[in-house]
């Protein structure tokens, strides 16, 4: 069963082609990572999936139904697709708990005590006990990003989209965030991940897509892609990563 089907996706920013006829399927419980140089279109692709960025051509389906289908209410789409951003984007004027329970209470109309209970449970699970009444600016970057992951999880989504979630973090804080993602993988969460952390992509993914110039030019399981890439552009990219000591 395919969870997400991306078919012939094309996207322009003005006259610049950023996604060129991209097709990609993600099965239920599968973890797929998008890697590639800056400007290769990976973040745009990710943001197209939950309709944050409009696209010009193609179809994106969730459980076989186009995300632009009338049967999809806004609530429904965003309940099933959670996203975590590079810069956390927590609401600075709300406490951690308010950040997490906002969507469950106001969008999905769940009872407040139930939302709070679930939020506290997740906070405990992610080593953030006792932070529920803190404001985002009182937390470290790693803690804020973990809150952002919990906020996305609080809607109980089917799929989690991760947009370079460690790019803004200090190196020593990255590990804590990544271990949570590995934990979610073990629980069977379907995930589409954009990342520059090659080691993480290798450990967590079932499949890795290398994007270049708005196209997926190579797609393989991590073991294959990292040890024996076929496309010369992929080789070159990985070579540079290895030279810079990031793999």
């Amino acid at each position: 069963m395919q969870k997400i089907e991306i078919e012939h996706l094309t996207k322009y920013y003005g006259s610049k082609l950023v996604l060129n006829d991209v097709s990609l399927n993600i099965a239920d419980h599968e973890v797929v990572s998008l890697i590639g140089a800056s400007g290769s279109g990976k973040s745009t692709l990710l943001r197209c999936v939950n309709d944050l960025v409009p696209f010009d051509n193609g179809v994106i389906k969730l459980d076989g139904l186009s995300i632009h289908d009338e049967k999809f209410s806004r609530h429904d789409l965003y309940k099933r697709l959670g996203i975590v951003f590079q810069s956390y984007n927590l609401f600075p004027h709300m406490t951690v708990l308010e950040n997490i329970t906002l969507a469950p209470c106001k969008v999905h109309k769940r009872p407040k005590n139930e939302s709070v209970e679930y939020a506290l449970e997740l906070l405990g699970l992610f080593d953030l006990d006792g932070f529920s009444n803190a404001y985002p600016e009182q937390l470290s970057g790693g803690q804020q990003q973990r809150v952002a992951i919990i906020r996305a999880m609080a809607n109980k989504p089917d799929v989690l989209l991760l947009d370079e979630i460690t790019a803004a973090l200090d190196p020593e804080l990255i590990g804590g965030v990544l271990s949570i993602i590995k934990n979610l993988r073990e629980k069977g969460m379907t995930m589409l991940i954009v990342t520059h952390e090659m080691g993480f992509a290798r450990d967590v993914s079932d499949r890795i897509c290398f994007l270049d110039g708005g196209q997926i030019i190579e797609e393989a399981p991590p073991a294959k892609l990292f040890s024996n890439p076929e496309n010369p552009r992929t080789k070159q990219f990985l070579q540079r990563i290895i030279e810079s000591g990031r793999l």
Binding site: L52, Y78, I83, F91, H93, L102, A103, K106, V107
Partner: protein, 282 residues
Amino acid sequence: MISKGHGRFPKSGRKLRFRDKYLPSIISISSVLLVIFVISLAVTSAEQWPRIKAQFFDINAMIDVFPKVLHGFGINMAIWAISLVVIAIWALILAIFRTLHGPWFTPLRIFSIVYIDLLRGLPSLLLVLLFGFGIPALQMKGLPSSSIFWGSVAMISSYSAYAAEVYRSGMEAVHDGQKAAAKALGLSQWQTLRYAIIPQAIRNVIPSLLNLAVALQKDVALLSVLGVRDAVREAQIYTARTFNYSSLIAAAVLFLIATIPLARLTDYVTQKDRARRLQKTI
């Protein structure tokens, strides 16, 4: 650990010498006094000074008129306080109208744009005259006919146009990532404004809104042209009766007593706001 924003300087090991500690204050105080002395000497040595002094700075006249001017000033402050509340709400509504997108909201958006353009483009005095004399003259049933009411409506209308633009700039200053996050959580356009954008926008614009509040505090005196017996009007009545202008000075002092603390408060809030932003970007 929560940082408080205003850290104290570490105590230096060396004791400050008298010169370092007090000399700067002594120099500033004495230079200010010197300037005041020179100016007052120049003014009082003017040929017409005794006449001016009798007409403008007659203490007895001031004491005589003070109760009436003070009563009028109470009216100024009451109009000001009520207007402030109404402006804060009405301007926010205008700003929201202007920000909403989508075809259904087009009439609201156009209304807001036209309203703001018109009312920012007209002098407040003109509006006060038009509203204060024009609308009561219509003698429409059900509408209040008091000039104090319509004069206040004019001030509120005019200031709301400015305040709406202040709110709007505050909303636009909220980072795009906040809107993306709100959308991705499934919040509707209205919920995004209500829970994510407006609370942050208001925090951003409080210093600017306080500035407008200071300006309004004085501009309420424009209502005196309608015959509203505010502080300025009372002072003018006294002047017309006695040919002594001291009443105007009395009114001026009252205005300063009210506006200066508010202006200081505005400075203080602005400074705190700047510190907050700096802290955020570091």
